[in-house]
Subunit: 515 residues, 2 copies
Amino acid sequence: MEVMSGKNLWCCLNNGDVVEKMKRLGRLTCRKIWKVGKEDKRRVIHSLKVGISLSLVSLLYLMEPLFKGIGENAIWAVMTVVVVLEFTTGATLYKGLNRGLGTLLAGLLAFLIERIANESGHIFHAAFIGTAVFLVGAMTTYMRFFSHIKKNYDYGVVIFLLTFNLITVSSYRVDSVLKIAHERFYTIAIGCGICLLMSLFIFPIWSGEDLHLSTVAKFDGLAKSIEVCINEYFSDDNINQQEEKVRENSMEMEDPIYKGYKDVLDSKSSDETLALYASWEPRYLRSSSWQQYVKLGTVLRHFGYTIVALHGSLQTEIKTPQSVRVLFKDPCIRLAREVTKTLKELSDSIRNRRKYCPEISSNHVHEALQDLIDALKLQPRLFLSTNSNTNILLALATLATRQKSGKDFVASLSSVNNDNSDRLGLSHDKKSLRATLSKIGMTSLEFLEALPFAAFASLLVEIVARLDLVIEQVVELGRVAQFKEYSHDDVVINVSCDNNSRVGSEFLPSHSATD
Amino acid sequence: MEVMSGKNLWCCLNNGDVVEKMKRLGRLTCRKIWKVGKEDKRRVIHSLKVGISLSLVSLLYLMEPLFKGIGENAIWAVMTVVVVLEFTTGATLYKGLNRGLGTLLAGLLAFLIERIANESGHIFHAAFIGTAVFLVGAMTTYMRFFSHIKKNYDYGVVIFLLTFNLITVSSYRVDSVLKIAHERFYTIAIGCGICLLMSLFIFPIWSGEDLHLSTVAKFDGLAKSIEVCINEYFSDDNINQQEEKVRENSMEMEDPIYKGYKDVLDSKSSDETLALYASWEPRYLRSSSWQQYVKLGTVLRHFGYTIVALHGSLQTEIKTPQSVRVLFKDPCIRLAREVTKTLKELSDSIRNRRKYCPEISSNHVHEALQDLIDALKLQPRLFLSTNSNTNILLALATLATRQKSGKDFVASLSSVNNDNSDRLGLSHDKKSLRATLSKIGMTSLEFLEALPFAAFASLLVEIVARLDLVIEQVVELGRVAQFKEYSHDDVVINVSCDNNSRVGSEFLPSHSATD
């Protein structure tokens, strides 16, 4: 609205044919502004919070009768609010505490150096301060390259360096360093106080909550990806047309499969940042639980890579014929459905902060896996050739064995189990076998067509294996974060929850066990 | 060294039995400090640069005779140096220019509001300023949620808000806003000048160079991963022992395969940051070429996901028997070697900023791929059973066909090509075929064991397909970044270069075509 009024003003000044263009630009801008706010309402709240905080801090300066003496240094309060007040409470606390600690340590060091410098002459004083500035500057900057400091205290180190230099340099001219430091500390404390008040008590936005919800969203996204992936693989569409569609989608990056796993793949840095901020939040003091979220994120990313490979087998150059797919459709779809169901149960258990019981669903996944393996066992002929020439060969072979050696042959089958047996087999009739093999060579294109299905099936098996690792980490999360015990009723109710929890996240109940 | 002397001082003060402990801690700290510097020598250089810059800025304050009048506001120069001088030139320019732009715009807006406010009464003045602070604070913060602004101008917006508030609030008490602004601008300009001088002319560290080298390193890492992956898959070790080793390695995350692709997978945010900074660097004005590096990074990440899946098939629960692996060892190793060779050629062409010629190596990859496919075509029997019971069956089947129907059977084989034929096959002797199938059921565990090999082969095919996408992007990079034309001699020379180019990167010739 504010932008509009400014724009209208501008329009009035330049009254001409640009008016129409400006109006259109204004409408576009308004729509963009509206969209950004609608995506996440907390953005609007945060903006208002910053505005209010700054107005409050400005009062220090504007209301002379109330704050005599402080007014002069009010700029430090303003600076503190602008720099420290961040989107989430965790980030604000991280910055605020780092700022406080950095300022305090820098003040102490500056005071120490000041005392030493004061005992020397004027020229030496300047040289001493210059050397101290150089050494502290170089050493502090070098410290920022240590990964542990970089990760947890980077901002504090910058503030340390800044404050140290300001105090040291100022102290050279002004004698009452302590008085200045005292006043400055006072205003910075007021600024920090306002920031903490705003971020802790007025519509607080928790990094921990964000990390929690983004983890839940990851599970939902992966489940969605697997679902769409399986459906597309076994859909009855014309294969070529479908593949074309998949390829087009992947170019535009609007593929629902891609959309599902995309956020998981690149989640490392955002996860780590959120966990860092969350570890500063007072509501969730057990920082180890945030490390567990990061660990779960890593396992989920590895789970995601398998889905990328699964997605890849949809887009591969060599296509599995429809006839092969149809045969394994049911066990594959069942397995995928069980995996999807498990992922959704995991997401629900995390969403509701309840411990997950691996006993309930994991077994179904393994049953479904066994079904698929059984199905693969029953149809091994397909992997020699899809148009079942082999079946005829096999039928004939059976007839031949029955005619020739009867029951003895079955016994020989089970006894000959070493690799040399193919040479034994060949020795019977080398020439005729070669002829057969060349005939099989004719049909082996179908084997190549079945190859991607084998990869597909193998990746499904891989997914189940990785799902176990994910479950392991979720159980560990339940233990570390002290989630509630599992009860059956809750899960039934919450399966029907909608998954678009990002926007309305601040309205979600957040009765964590760690309160 | 500085740390040591401080530590020694401390030891002397607390002379007791803690001396030994302190000494050990000192040694450990020294080793750590040494290691951080040895990893990247530029860190030491940057630290010294910051120290020197701060000392220079402090001179403004310390040398009264030279800089009369500025001294009072020297803190702004100090602040500028601490905040703006970053590790790479691009980051410094990004921050410096954002700071400059933010300060300038904030100054103008503050001046405008000041003029309007001055025309009103004293009480209204305060209310007006309060409102302006609130509105600008809220709107500016809201702007930071726009992805484009967040990405390119976030720091500038923060500085805008900071400066606007400082000027507006100060102006309420001080009448000579313009004089203050002028002095402040002067000192900030000096600070920025020192930062630019330091980052542009004294041992400059370029984000563009970092992005370039990290892209080269990614190719080398991926090549290494594929090489080790293939070698481990086909190594003659005891399989179980080897798998155990692989599993152990993956737990400790010290697996060379994992090490090779790990940096590629999580490269998104660092790539984008480096590209952002690089786009501000004067040496590399064509910002589109940096976007091409980011795009290449995306394609490489997708290439990496396939290697993760390939790595996964090394760790899978179902193991491919040695006998199967040995049969396909040569074509697989050849294909992998060709892919690795291509990756190394790509990395060399980028390292030396030369255009890549897809005609030279890509063909070998496709030849090797054809070899593998041919090998798979020749050995289709393996995918029915590995201990070659089937061979016997096939041999018998051939005998049977020869005895029964002779040449006619071959004709029937080529004519029967539809899926219904298995029913035809079954109708001959349903019972006996079922018996055969159940016998095959006994041996189908071997089929399941061959399944991961099919996945492995399929993933190799997938890798070749994705390699083509990578080559496409590298060729596009050569075009966009205007690399030199390909010449054969260069490649031969540079293949023997060592790949540890990170440490010595500043000594590499950097005669880019974009100079």
